[in-house]
């Protein structure tokens, strides 16, 4: 078959509709509006990555990070894929207990905390709240608390009729600090008097706030147990006092540094030193070697004689009655159909192709001579110049 004389058409025939659809898809992807002819290339900025701070749902990463690095409770640089999306900074976790409020280990709260006052601020912080630092705050107030004074503050609106209300807002993503936000509310009828009751607490009896962090579901009982054990210890819980004096004191039950290292930590140390194991392994290998040699069948004398003969160089005698096969080689890639091709090979005549490795260093006269040979069809030269290594469209 003569490929160059018998032209074979393409094997593919895509319909026009495909190309139109592909065109519109591409233009849409690039944000090009055909109706605005003056739109220019800078529009491509739209599909370039924009380096802005962006919020990423890092809840899963935090879990993994804490799992991987329990000592620091930090996840910085753990998930490179997400870190590369934007400048994501993951706040360290102050882990305490399980998500179910009923599971809060109240007994773990030291007397130093509970004994100070009967009013506790228990704040439930979920992983979602870590991203949105608005936390619902539940204030448990004890009626029996004597030191808490209730004062009725009567505020008389004078001219503007503005009444101040105290709202307690806690943010959990940074430090657990209670903030007082004073909201000013404009009152429609400034003539009326408003009575606002607020809880005024003395500095010494500021109610404590306990932050209860949610625990992922995969935490097993043994891990929880390992956490509770150090909490029950007298000095285990770390209590962070709120710096602000007049604000309700918030206590952060931070996890002990080894909270999630129990699995590794609990492993009993082997009584056997490490070198004994290595020695035993070596002994086993040596023993296996001798056993393997012992179970090998003895070589026959004939086989040994054959081996000895093969070691000596011998002349290979070609039998005269065998036909001499053509010396043509099977082209690369056609080995799979070698049996079929062998019948056709005698017809295949290798062209006068010569491989030249150092073509670039040839003197000009030699190059011209080679070019003449090629132009006259006497030879074809294959310059090995590794074309794919140099492909770089931007250089054009």
């Amino acid at each position: 078959m003569d490929l160059e004389n018998e032209k074979i058409g393409p094997a593919y025939n895509a319909p026009e509709s495909y190309f139109k659809e592909s065109e519109s898809r591409l233009l849409q992807r690039l944000g090009i509006d055909i109706n605005s002819p003056e739109a220019s290339a800078p529009k491509i900025e739209a599909i370039k990555p924009v380096e802005v701070l962006m919020k990423v749902d890092t809840s899963g990463i935090q879990k993994r990070a804490r799992k991987q690095d329990p000592l620091t409770s930090k996840s910085v640089g753990v998930d490179k894929d997400v870190d590369s999306v934007g400048k994501v900074e993951i706040a360290p976790l102050t882990f305490t207990t399980n998500e179910n409020p009923e599971w809060v280990n109240f007994s773990a709260i030291s007397e130093e905390t509970t004994g100070l006052g009967d009013s506790l601020n228990i704040t439930k912080v979920t992983y979602g709240d870590l991203l949105n630092p608005v936390v619902e705050s539940v204030q448990i107030e004890s009626v029996q608390r004597e030191s808490v004074q209730r004062e009725s503050v009567q505020i008389e609106s004078v001219e503007s009729g503005i009444v101040s209300t105290v709202i307690e807002v806690e943010t959990a993503i940074e430090e657990v600090v209670a903030e007082e936000v004073v909201l000013e509310t404009e009152v429609a009828e400034p003539q009326e008097d408003f009575v606002v009751e607020s809880i005024v607490e003395e500095e010494s009896i500021t109610p404590d706030s306990i932050v209860v962090h949610e625990v992922p579901e995969f935490v097993g009982l043994d891990e929880l147990e390992s956490y509770i054990a150090p909490i029950n210890a007298p000095k285990a819980p770390i209590i962070e006092e709120v710096i602000a004096e007049e604000e309700p004191q918030t206590i952060n039950l931070e996890a002990p540094p080894t909270a999630f290292a129990p699995i590794a930590g609990r492993q009993k140390e082997s009584a056997t030193p490490g070198w004994l194991g290595i020695a035993a392994s070596l002994a086993a290998i040596v023993a296996a070697y001798f056993i393997w040699n012992a179970i090998q069948p003895p070589k026959a004398e004939e086989a040994m004689a054959t081996e000895l003969q093969q070691d000596e160089p011998t002349l290979i005698e070609s039998p005269l009655d065998e036909p001499i096969s053509p010396k043509d080689t099977i082209p690369d890639g056609l080995q799979l159909v070698e049996p079929l091709i062998m019948g056709e090979m005698p017809k295949y005549k290798e062209p006068n192709v010569y491989t030249i490795i150092d073509a670039k260093e040839m003197p000009p006269r030699t190059k011209r001579a080679l070019q003449d040979l090629e132009d006259n069809g006497l030879a074809t030269f294959d310059m090995e110049d590794e074309m794919f290594e140099e492909l770089d469209f931007e250089s054009l």
Binding site: M1, Y12, P15, F19, S22, R29, I32
Partner: protein, 197 residues
């Protein structure tokens, strides 16, 4: 300016670009930079050729579609880097070839381009937009038994009718080497096709 006026201006611009030859289009691109209408003209002019070129190299429709799309995205992004030192068609083909090679490397990182990839022939039998011509399909299968270099040269020369000079620029190879590669490829394919018949 009313919408009708803008549309009329747009139509005239499109028509003007359609009437330009390839060289004039290159000059337009180099002198005044790429605009949306100029890019659309380049896209419409070379889209089919680039798709078929990628399809010949990659065999799968989905891969060819991806490579063709990426090619024109890069044309749009790098249009201002086109210096006019080569023909516009050669430049676009070169980007498409690079995209195809990148896609093959992505699919099979350990690929050796000096070796044939006969297993790729399986991609041809049942895929979209086949012409249904048996001998053409056999030729495509036979192409899988060529090393990538010979396959590339053969497809560019045989199917796309590019000159050796263009292919030499496109592949940064000497014309002599290209002729040798093409010659090898044709002979191998002829043997393969004669065996299959």
């Amino acid at each position: 300016m009313s919408v009708d006026t803008a549309n009329a201006k747009n139509m005239s611009e499109t028509q003007r670009l359609q009437n330009l030859s390839e060289d004039e289009l290159s000059v337009e691109l180099v002198s005044s930079g790429v605009t949306a209408s100029l890019f659309v003209e380049i896209l419409r002019r070379y889209q089919q050729q680039i798709y078929y070129h990628c399809r010949n190299l990659l065999l799968s429709h989905d891969d060819a579609d991806d490579a063709a799309q990426n090619t024109f995205i890069k044309v749009w992004q790098n249009a201002n880097q086109f210096k006019g030192d080569s023909r516009l068609r050669t430049w676009v083909y070169r980007i498409a070839t690079n995209e195809s090679i990148n896609l093959i490397r992505k699919r099979k990182p350990t690929i050796d381009f000096d070796e044939a990839q006969p297993e790729m022939a399986d991609l041809i039998t049942e895929d979209l937009y086949l012409s249904g011509d048996d001998i053409a399909l056999k030729l495509q299968k036979a192409l899988c038994y060529l090393p990538f270099k010979q396959k590339l040269v053969f497809t560019l020369r045989y199917f796309e009718d590019l000159s050796y000079a263009e292919i030499a620029v496109l592949t940064s190879t000497s014309e002599g080497a290209l002729k040798a590669s093409y010659h090898h490829a044709v002979k191998k394919l002829e043997i393969y096709l004669s065996v299959l018949r």
